[in-house]
Symmetry: C2
Subunit: 206 residues, 2 copies
Amino acid sequence: MTRPSDITRDRIMRAAERLFAERGYDHTSIRAIVAKARVNQAAINYHFDGKDGLYREVLRSAFRALTEGQTSHAAEIKALSRERALAEFVRYQLRGLLQRDELTRPIRIFNWETVRPTAVFRELLSQEVAPFMGLATDIISRFMPAADQRTLTLAAIWLVGQCGVFVRNRERLAGPPMSLQLDEAAIEQLAELVSGWAIAGLGSHA
Amino acid sequence: MTRPSDITRDRIMRAAERLFAERGYDHTSIRAIVAKARVNQAAINYHFDGKDGLYREVLRSAFRALTEGQTSHAAEIKALSRERALAEFVRYQLRGLLQRDELTRPIRIFNWETVRPTAVFRELLSQEVAPFMGLATDIISRFMPAADQRTLTLAAIWLVGQCGVFVRNRERLAGPPMSLQLDEAAIEQLAELVSGWAIAGLGSHA
DNA sequence: GCCAAATTCAAACGAGGGTTTGAAAAAAGG
DNA sequence: CCTTTTTTCAAACCCTCGTTTGAATTTGGC
């Protein structure tokens, strides 16, 4: 693991993860990556077989970081009452609003993919989207036990959407003209508001 | 208006609007635009002072198309009961799911801007975002008359978010593994579901 | 019909992108 | 230690991009 070549590989991964999260795939040049990682330009092709290969690795790593956290909490969430489970889910989604970069970087990378999915991403998505949406659908189904599959799916998307809009527009909401304060306490309040609205909305169908 | 030079200008605008909507700013080359418009490459610099200038014009046109439709309906929406107003708002937002390109093209252009706002867009946004969010906030305030400004703003974003997630992911939702049917009838159903959930959610605070 | 202005055109420019190359350096194995 | 393999390196290659150029053509007012 500490072989010299692995050190180079690791430096590239760290730099690439930061830059891809910050600027997205297109606006990140391999020259910028190697400058930040302080390695030779050809090293990316040597270790990752090109920019696409590097991005694939970064995406995989981001997927792991996200779903790992998600599934580890999934079990305890399922043990809660449906209301508290949904509230916890919302809070978990909204954690992307925090500036703690270790957590938000994977989220930001996926945000780029929301609008322009790269080919690399589509490939990964088909394998990994199931557990990602599965938890949401599971929670929803406890509010709408009689609903058909289509409605459950739509409701799950609906739930994810009302959280994601805040995460995706974080920077814009923080600035004028909205100027929303988004510290830890404010996010907690927001999570309560959103989960309250969502629970009441779904409750009408119970 | 039918001067020869205006014809060239118009052909460029049409082609650019289509391509920007389809691929976004970065992935649309002026060579692709002039090929589709069947004009000379230098014409873009002559008529629009470069790619940025052309994009600015396309954005302006898209803004006009969207807010014009929005504000024209805003008046009649405000005359409705709060529940019907919200339902109408949701239906209006979800019209982006339709494949009728005259309507969806401006929406798609703005979708690109959601994740990576261009400098051109930021400039326009500061002038025009107010009426865009104003209607949402107005409807919301009828459900939460006692709420503070911050809560109203958050609720407006929340409302827009739960509509936008469907529009933004339309193509992905239509394909596997979701494979959601999204014809006119299905969208109508979806609008009813979403507005029903939203109304019930906000109703809890009334 | 003429002339000045506006418009079109083909070609080239320069910057920036990802990738390739082939030799030099370092690491690993016997 | 010597050999073989792995890894690094600077340089160049080739492509696409937005823009510029300067001449040719068309347009519009007199």
